[in-house]
Structure formats: structure tokens, C-alpha cells
């Protein structure tokens, strides 16, 4: 509109960050290959959700952790431009360093106060080997860390549910268990679509001091995708 007052307009940024366990145990039984293909497969569905929510600008990043943590995709990348390069598995499980790496990026700035609550999706198959408690404390010390939607996928029977639950920080949300490649695909698809949809248009909530710190209500995941065990289980 001509003579419209004010500066440039923009949809609200929605940051989505994968935190991916690349420790040596992820090499066993094709877990890391399954993870790579599951994320790659979910991207078109994620893009569909983004198109349906034009008032949220979905921006993706990824942190890989094993011996330390590094940005696998460092720049917030629009989902349409995002390409998943395979991660490889070796080393230990420095999950705490991954939390610290993400915490650095959730400060204001570089985060803007008008952003939508970010989504942090943690995928891990084992127990942290570093000081994950302090790393998590650093993440939760950031207002955007506390307000983030935090989802965890436990890959295989050796994943540490207690740690993943502490990361989620919401008694109404449990880690999603993936004991086979199909379940991993379903969970990653669910995070990439249902969770992104909820985070794209969250209603305003009262700041009521609830221990459930995120303002985004996440619908329950498909129970059939989270069964405790089945004949198809390989992890």
C-alpha cells in the first residue's frame, strides 16, 4: 500500500534446531544411516507445513555432537533451501557441549524478541559422556532456551530416558522411542510436521509460572509409532 507507515514487515522467525548424536554407537546397526535418510525424507513435509503457515518463517539448523559439538548447519536456513548432508558416527557423546552450543545462539541477540518459540529436537542413542547437567543449565538460563519446544527421540534401547526427559522438561511429554528405522522415520516426520505446525501459530498463553515453560501445546504423538517393542525392533 502506498504511504504505509513504518519499516519493513516480515513474518516471525521460527528457529528449528536438530541436535544429533554422532557418537560411535550410532554407527551400529545402521542407526546413523537411518537418521540421515529420515531427516532428508522429512524435509518436503516440513516445507509443506511451512507453506501452510506463511506468517512463520521456518529456519533450520543442526548441531552434531560426539567428541565435542559443532554446527553441522550453522546458518539459519529457510526450509526450502535446506539440504541435509549426511553426518557420520564416531567418538563419544558430548551432549552437554551441544546444549552450550545451542545456548550461545539463543541469546538476544542474535535471537530477536519477536521470534516464535524455537523448536529443539534432540536425537540420541546413549548416555552423555560430558557434564550435560551444566550444559542443560546454560541452555535453560537463556529465556529462549526455557521457552523453546524441546522434543527428544531415543534411538535404541540404550538411550538415556532420564537425561532426555530432563531436556524436555515437561512431564506431559515423554521421549519418543525408536527401536527400528520405521519408527525413527515416523518420529522425525512427526516432529517435522505436527510440532512445527503447533509452533508456527501458537496461541498466547498466560505467563503463569508453570513448570511447563513452553507456551506451545504439542498434540500427542501417534501411539502406534512409540510402542515399547515389536518384532521389527533392531536397536
Amino acid at each position: 500500500m502506498a504511504n504505509r507507515p513504518g519499516g519493513a514487515m516480515a513474518s516471525r522467525p521460527l528457529h528449528f534446531i536438530w541436535l544429533v548424536d554422532c557418537s560411535g554407537s550410532m554407527a551400529a546397526d545402521g542407526k546413523v544411516q537411518s537418521l540421515n535418510s529420515a531427516i532428508r525424507e522429512a524435509l518436503p513435509h516440513m516445507a509443506d507445513v511451512a507453506r501452510e503457515n506463511p506468517n512463520a518463517e521456518l529456519l533450520l539448523r543442526a548441531v552434531a555432537f560426539s567428541n565435542g559439538a559443532r554446527w553441522h548447519v550453522a546458518n539459519p536456513t529457510p526450509v526450502e533451501e535446506f539440504r541435509w548432508e549426511d553426518v557420520e558416527a564416531s567418538g563419544i557423546t558430548d551432549m552437554g557441549k551441544a546444549f552450550r552450543t545451542v545456548a550461545e545462539q539463543l541469546r538476544v541477540p542474535p535471537m530477536s524478541e519477536r521470534a516464535l518459540p524455537p523448536v529443539l529436537a534432540l536425537l540420541s542413542d546413549g548416555q552423555p559422556s560430558d557434564d550435560w547437567q551444566n550444559g542443560l543449565a546454560e541452555l535453560m538460563a537463556q529465556p529462549w532456551g526455557k521457552k523453546a519446544v524441546r522434543i527428544a527421540i531415543a534411538i535404541g534401547a540404550d538411550a538415556d530416558h532420564e537425561v532426555l526427559s530432563r531436556f524436555i522438561g515437561n512431564p506431559e511429554l515423554r521421549p519418543l522411542q525408536a527401536n527400528n528405522p520405521e519408527a525413527l522415520v515416523r518420529h522425525i516426520r512427526w516432529v517435522s510436521t505436527v510440532v512445527v505446525q503447533s509452533a508456527s501459530a501458537p496461541g498466547t498463553q498466560q505467563a503463569d509460572g508453570s513448570p511447563i515453560s513452553s507456551n506451545v501445546v504439542i498434540p500427542p504423538s501417534d501411539p502406534s509409532a512409540a510402542g515399547p517393542s515389536s518384532a521389527a525392533d533392531v536397536w
Binding site: M1, N3, R4, P5, G6, G7, A8, M9, A10, S11, R12, E52, N53, P54, N55, A56, E113, R114, A115, L116, P117, P143, W144, K147, E172, A201, P202, G203, T204, Q205, Q206, A207, D208, S214, N215, V216, V217, P219
Partner: protein, 315 residues
Amino acid sequence: MRRPVRVGPEPCRLSAAASVRGAAHQRSGMPNQDAFGLFPAPGLGDGLLVALADGHGSAKSFRSETGSRLAVQAAQAVLGALLEPGCERPEPSALRDMAEARFPREIVREWRRLVDEDLAARPIDDGEWERLCSREGASARRTVEENPYHAYGATLLAALLLGNLHLYLQIGDGDIVAVGADGAAWRPVPGDARLLANATTSLARKDAWRDFRRAHALPPSLPALLLLATDGYANSFAEDAGFLQVASDIHAMVARGKWAEVATGLEGWLTDASSQGSGDDVTAAVVAQAGPWPRRSRRPALWLHFRCKCPTNRV
């Protein structure tokens, strides 16, 4: 109160307001949950009350469309009383005391009374409970049963202009922006660190009166223009400076004698903002002095703002 555009009749003060349903609300079938009211003093009085309210969009606040309307009514009942003929204008210090101790309590009390009336007239029905449970589970129903005001949750922004004395009151998110005669824009009301990630303080919250933030202005620090807006407006701009620029740009339009463009263009600007920006409902009110303004102006040093220093204000 929910007419899309309303233009104030006063000869010496220009006022307009508009409210648009959010682009995201249109896609999801949600109504416009904002409300506003412009209440000029009767007759030739020079007073004006502007009130905006934003109903929470969460599933728990499934009657927030009504809650926001009642919030504006509550502001009118409490603050509008000072505009009535025969009502003695308070001294600035007295007004500040009233804003600190009396108005927030009375607004919350009046809003709750109005909500109670609405609940008595139309109790929450099975369909509303079912929709809530399907979206947020049984625990959400328990939350609303324990505090039915949740269902009506809303914020409130109010500006009471009593001649040369302004009072601004705010609970929750949204913005009150003042513009000096030089075009510089600023927020007179202090911020609240809890208002992040779609979280807001609310009239529905226990002890809500403690969450009110306040400011007042006196000559020579009265602004030339005020912009009040629900948070959907500021959230539509890439940078906060771009939002503040709205108020400065409108001020410049008024200075060029283009008030009519402001009054007629406002609704379209808000529609643009929602569709290109936040997707949220957007409501805004503009109040401008008709001029002339002093040639030289600065951000006033004498702006006075104050806020409860109670523990519940801490994050």
C-alpha cells in the same frame, strides 16, 4: 465497540482506531479476539479514554473474544468515570496514586464481575469442554474449572487523556508509543521481561492488578501523538525500529495535514501488517493533537513512569 474504524469527533484532538482479524485466524477459522473503544468526554470536554484489549488465543482462553470486550468495558467503567461532567480533575500526584493503588484493582474487579455475569448467563457448555480437552487434554479443563477467568483471558492497554494530564495503563503485551513534536517515538510504559514467546500477563491471572504497568505525562512533556496497538502490530515488523517508525510516520502525516489519510488508511495498514507479518489480530488506535506543535522538541526528560515493585513482577 467492535466497529472496524471509529473516528473521534473532537475538534482539538484527532483520534481513530481500527481492528482487523488476523490472517492466521482467518486460515484457522478463529475470530478476531481483540477489542477496542474510544470514549470521548461528553459534550465539549477535552478528555478521552482509549482502551484496547487482546484476548489470548490459546485453547484455554476459548472465550477471550468476550474477555477482551469486557476488558474494554471495565476500563470504560473505571477510567471513563473521570470524563463525566462534574467529575473533578485530580491533581497529577493524586492521579498517580490512583493509578498505583486503585485503578488496577478496580479494573480487575470490574472485569471479573462482568465475566461472572457472562458465565451466569451462559455457562460453559459441553461442546466448549470437549473442544478444550481435544486440543489440550483433561488437565486444561481442570485448569479452567479451577479458574474460569482463564477462559476469558485478555490483556488491556488504556490511555486516559485529561486535558494536559495523561495516564497510561497496561497489563500484558502490546504497545503504547508516544511521539514528540520532533517525530521521535518511544514507549513511555516500562517493559516486562515475562512477555516473551507468546507469553503474557493477563487480567485472568490471580492478583492481576499487580501486573499493571503505568506511566503518566504532564506539560511540557505531553506527546504530540499516541499510538496504542495490540502485539500483532509490532510483531509484524522485521525490526522494532520499523514498528516505532509507524508512529513517527503517522505523526509526519498529521503534520502535513493528512489526518484524513490516517483515519481512512488505518484499517488497510493493519490488514497489510497481519498478512505480511505476524498473522495475528491487529488493533491500533491513534490520538494526535491537532496542532500547532512547538517547533523545537525533544524526548521529554520529565516523563514519569512507575510500576509495582512486587515479587510477582520478577521473572
